[in-house]
Symmetry: C2
Subunit: 189 residues, 2 copies
């Protein structure tokens, strides 16, 4: 029997993306976002939702660019910290001892130490309500070579990305592989 | 050293959401989406991106409503199948022996057997490129009581949702909890 629960319990595995941006003054900033996902294959786009109150919102509105930095499990406390502290009160890169690399492709910094980076140019902004969606076209994707397998694909288990469960505020790792898509469903055809 | 890889490798843990909709003729349909995520807290909204070629796109354009049905690991082959087969060629509910329940809140069906359901009304549609985003306001969220813990929160490990890794086409389970958000980052303050 199904029971209605609060709709604020968005019980979905969410990504843990650390968004890199420059302020008007050129100071690199980081902020963690969970309200995000892939939103288009052609062009390759992702959507990141931010509240207007955040410095990252202001920065991206100004610069029309951002990076997505995927933290591995190793950087869980850094990812959590940049989601709690405002860039208006702290220089988060310095505080964490992380290195801001200036993207050569978009007007935004990325985190040298994190294993995977997407460099994005803003195509659209859609105000939904408390949050505004930034639709970013992925212009390049960079990964530490040690996380590529022999076929040039991402070795996801080695990468060890975080997954976020809202409402219960829990970070999880990815579990084991349980099936291949476009394959395991064939038995129903 | 970071290396550029194809931007089509959207290496993010993506949700596995089975979208329920009615056709013009009132036939319930299901389709799996991975290009989706939460996009706003107030109102509580999610974004689901679909290609125009899909029946689900046509259905949602017509009915302005859909459901999100979260499959547990138990339903992995069903979730995969409805992502491969078009509702134009098969009655997927019948083929899978799943039960279509008519939502009393929105003009869409949901899957009785799946553990968790969001009932959504379309607030906006944004055409990005190959994909169009449907922004759905979550009007209700229903869960099987057995997946609620003593405090009324979702027992995520019991729910056992799937996570999708695009490009390598892999379904994973959720791994163990590795940290509490707004907590584990405090040491950097």
């Amino acid at each position: 029997m199904k029971k209605s629960i609060s709709v604020s319990q968005q019980v979905v595995p969410c990504p843990v993306w650390v968004i890199g941006s420059y302020s008007k003054e050129g100071i690199p900033n980081l902020m963690t976002a969970g309200w995000c996902g892939v939103c288009c294959s052609v062009p390759s786009c992702i959507a990141v939702s931010l509240r207007e109150a955040t410095l990252t919102y202001e920065n991206i509105m100004e610069r029309k660019a951002f990076t997505v930095n995927l933290p591995s499990l190793q950087y869980i406390s850094e990812a959590d910290y940049v989601g709690m502290e405002s860039g208006r009160n702290a220089d988060k890169f310095s505080k964490l001892g992380l290195t801001a690399v200036n993207s050569e492709i978009v007007d935004a910094p990325y985190v040298a130490e994190f294993p995977l980076v997407l460099e994005c140019k803003v195509l659209h902004t859609f105000k939904i309500g408390l949050h505004t969606q930034f639709i970013g076209e992925i212009l390049d994707m960079k990964i530490e070579e040690m996380f590529l397998d022999d076929t040039g694909h991402v070795a996801i288990e080695a990468l060890n990305p975080l997954v976020y469960i809202p409402q219960i505020n829990a970070y999880h790792t990815l579990g084991g592989k349980v099936g291949q898509s476009y394959a395991i469903g064939n038995k129903h055809r």
